[in-house]
Each structure stands twice: as structure tokens, then as C-alpha cells.
Amino acid sequence: MIPTLAEASRQIEAGTLSPVALTEACLDRVNRLDPTLHAFIRTTTDRAMAEAKAAADRVASGRRIGPLDGIPIAHKDIYETAGLATTAHSRLLEHYVPTADGPVVQRWREAGTVMLGKLATHEFAFGGPSFDLPWPPARNPWDPARFTAGSSSGTGAAVASGMILGGTGSDTGGSIRGPAALCGLAGFKPTYGLVSRRGILPLAYSMDHAGPLAWTVEDCAMLLDAMAGHDPLDPASADRPVPAFHAGLGAGVQGLRIGVVRHWHEADHPVSATTIASIDAAAALLRGLGATVQDVTLPHLEDFNSCGFVILVTEAFAAHEPWMRSDFSKYGELLRDRMALGALVSGADYVQAVRHRRALCQAVTAAMADVDLLLTASAAGEAPLIDQVPKWANFIRPSLTMPFNVTGQPALSICSGFGDGGLPLSIQLAGRPFEDARVLAAGHAYEGATAWRQTRPALAA
């Protein structure tokens, strides 16, 4: 039985679970499953065992740091780690070794987490799944022939299979919520500015968000408590009080007004019938827990998709311009082709996209005067086969996750059941900027009223 992060933390606190035994169990799953799942680019076994023993010593001597002390985690390989290669899953950074931890890595280390290694990503958090890189793409623990989604692909695979109890992700167009959706997890993209982006290799400066993935919303809240906070060296970091997310989970949904953005998942990007049914069931459940539920109308999903994609590729091309000019062929095919589109955007096009962004933000703000949360899909349905993922998905159907990268609002993907193929389904909840605690409390209430968290991938049993 794989414990949730919260369960493991409580057992460590009670002295019924040793951080050493917990870490050994996770490393055993890494050794057994990762040759199939490819979630890790690099494991740090010796370091993990040393950190687990140190955590065990602290527990034994009554000096436990806090709820994350002794918890096995890992970082997406765009999070810079001192003395440990940070590759972005790219040939270009195959031998890049940062000299300092980024703020999130540092905070989790200081919280006593046990780091098991660095996790697979889509190349530079954008191009994937790719089969022409130095490491293979991560695979879905529910069915290794299936896609994890990305770009936090390794984190999704590692958490779902119990190799770690939580991990870092980044989300520029859905890269936390996508893997959470297809791997059956909770994945939370906080409000832009709540978590420092410093020390995380950038994709698109104005759209990048850092956040956690874990088995449950409660686990995500515990991890976010140790991620969020002002960083004066990140120009986008918000200097404002940060609530206690885990402590606030009990707020529930009583009296909340939830708006279902039905036209997004039924018309603008029609999702599977089972996903629609799970959204309707979630709406009914939340109503039963005391929320009021109504449909809301927002701008067409394609407006957010186009706006976000144009900004994303333009900012990404700017970040990578020297390498795109000098080392184009060192990138994987998917990333270089997608990012090259940014070279074709004029200055005026980019400004129009950013003006469009403000209009979209205003439209959502106006709609949310009448509702506290938005409910829609976070993925089209169950995970597709990994070798059938379209290269230009954003051109085929508009992204369901991009809207909240455009607006910067907090957004959560959680498991909402299982489809006809036995693979996870998901819903997405979003809140107003800096009302992250409300989103997490609603997700936690939903999870507590459903049984979806009782089922792990058979491969991990």
C-alpha cells in the first residue's frame, strides 16, 4: 500500500513509519518500475538515503522540522540543483551543473524532504513526447503504452507509481495539469507570482508557473506551503501575505458559487462523453456539499489558446534565440519546430497578443463577479497512445488548460474517475487570482467525497 504524502507524514510524526523505510520502499519502486516508465533522468540514491537517515535522526530526537521532513520527493529537471546536472531533458544542457539550488529546491530541502533525483520533462518544458533526445520520454503508469502528457511528464509518472510522494512541476500552457489529468493525480498551478520562478529554466517568462503534483490535493497543499512566498529576486513574485494552504483545506464549498464553463468542454473543445459525465457528476456532488452551481459563458476557448500560444512561442524563441541560431539541430525535432514559429511573429503581433490577453483577463474577471470558482475539463479524456500524440495539438483543438496561463489564475486538475479504457479522467477547478486556498479547499472536499484516490495503477501494486 502506497501512502499519500499526508498519511506518510502523520505516520512519521507518530513514530510508526521511518523515513528510512519509506525512502527504501520508494527506491525499490524506482528500481523495479523506472526501466519501464523512464520517469527519472537521474537518481540520487546515496544522497536520498543520507537525507532519510538525517530525517530519522531528527524524528528520534524530537527535532522534526515539519510535515515534509522525511518525505521522498524529486524535481522536474528544469529546477536547478546545486552540484547536480539540470538538463531540461535536452542535449544542449546535458552537462550543465548549477552552482546553487533554486528557491523552491532550497525551501523543500530546508523543509527536510528527501530528494530521490531529477525527473524527465518534455525538452525545455515544451517539446514532447520526443524519441530523439538523450533520454526516452516518460510513460504512463496506468498503461506504459500511453502518454503521460507534459511537460511535467516524469513527475506525473513517478507520483502515480509511488516512486515519490510528491514532486515539482512547471506549467506554461498546462504542464502541471496535463500530467495530473492523464496520470490520475492532483496537480496545482498556483496564481502567477505566488511561487518563485527563479532557478527554474524559463520557457515563457510571462506564462511560466511553478507548482506541485501529488496523489491528493491535501498533499499538494502541504507541498505548496513549502513553495509559496515572496522572492525579491523574481520580478514577477508577489509581495503579499501567503495563507496556510494545508490548514485552510477544511473550508469546504458551503456557500460557494461555482460556474461551469460548459461551452469550453462541450462545444469549443468537445471532450469525451465520460469526461463530460464526470464533470456533471462533480457539479452535482459539489452542489450536494453546499455550493451553488450555474453555467457561465466566457470568451471562446480558441481566444485563450491563440493568445497563449503566440505569447508562448514568442517568449520561448526570445529565451532560446542564441541557441536557435547556433545549435538548431541539437534540439529535438518537436521543440525546434514549435519554437521556430516564434521567429515568425512580428513585434506588432506580440503586442496585439498581449493586448488580447488583457481583454481576456477582463472578461474572466467580469464573469467571476458572480461565481467563486470555475469548473471545466482539464483534458479531453483518457491518455492517448504515446506514439499517436499529434505534433501540433494546439492547432487541432484549443487547449483546455491554456486559459489560466493567460490569466494567471490558480487552477487545479484532479482525478474524476475512470473512463471506458480504465484510465483516469479529470476535472479542472480555477479560482480568482490569489484565491488559491479556495481552489484547494474545493478540490479537497471533492476528493473526500469520492473514492477515486483508493485506486493506484496496477503496475505499482
Binding site: S306, V354, R355
Partner: protein, 66 residues
């Protein structure tokens, strides 16, 4: 919807400083219409009305802020 000619596309690629082989050029040229549709879309308001000339970008610049 505007669509680049091969010559126009070559000019843009050259100005961007990219060195593309024939297959890479072909891939980008093939998806350009879809990308151009996105660019067209951001030139309009969400409600498709004319955008006020004074409508500001979302980026914020506050003098003196780090």
C-alpha cells in the same frame, strides 16, 4: 487570412537568423496557415468588436519596482 509566399517566408527565416534545411522549411511552411489564423485572432477582441486604440497590453511596468 494572409499567407506567406515562399519568398516572404525565406526572408523572415533569414531575418530570424535560423538555418533550416529543406525538410525543416517544409514543416514550418505547412503549419503557417494555422499559425496565421492564431495571429489573426489576437488582432481582434474576444467579442470580435474593434479594439479601442488605447487598449493597453497586459504587461505592467511600474517605475522603480525591481
Amino acid at each position: 487570412m494572409p499567407h506567406y509566399t515562399e519568398a516572404e517566408f525565406e526572408t523572415i527565416v533569414r531575418r530570424a537568423g535560423l538555418t533550416l534545411d529543406a525538410s525543416q522549411r517544409a514543416v514550418l511552411h505547412e503549419v503557417l496557415p494555422a499559425f496565421e489564423a492564431m495571429l489573426d485572432r489576437v488582432r481582434t477582441n474576444p467579442d470580435a468588436s474593434n479594439r479601442d486604440r488605447a487598449a493597453e497590453p497586459a504587461h505592467i511596468f511600474i517605475p522603480g519596482q525591481k
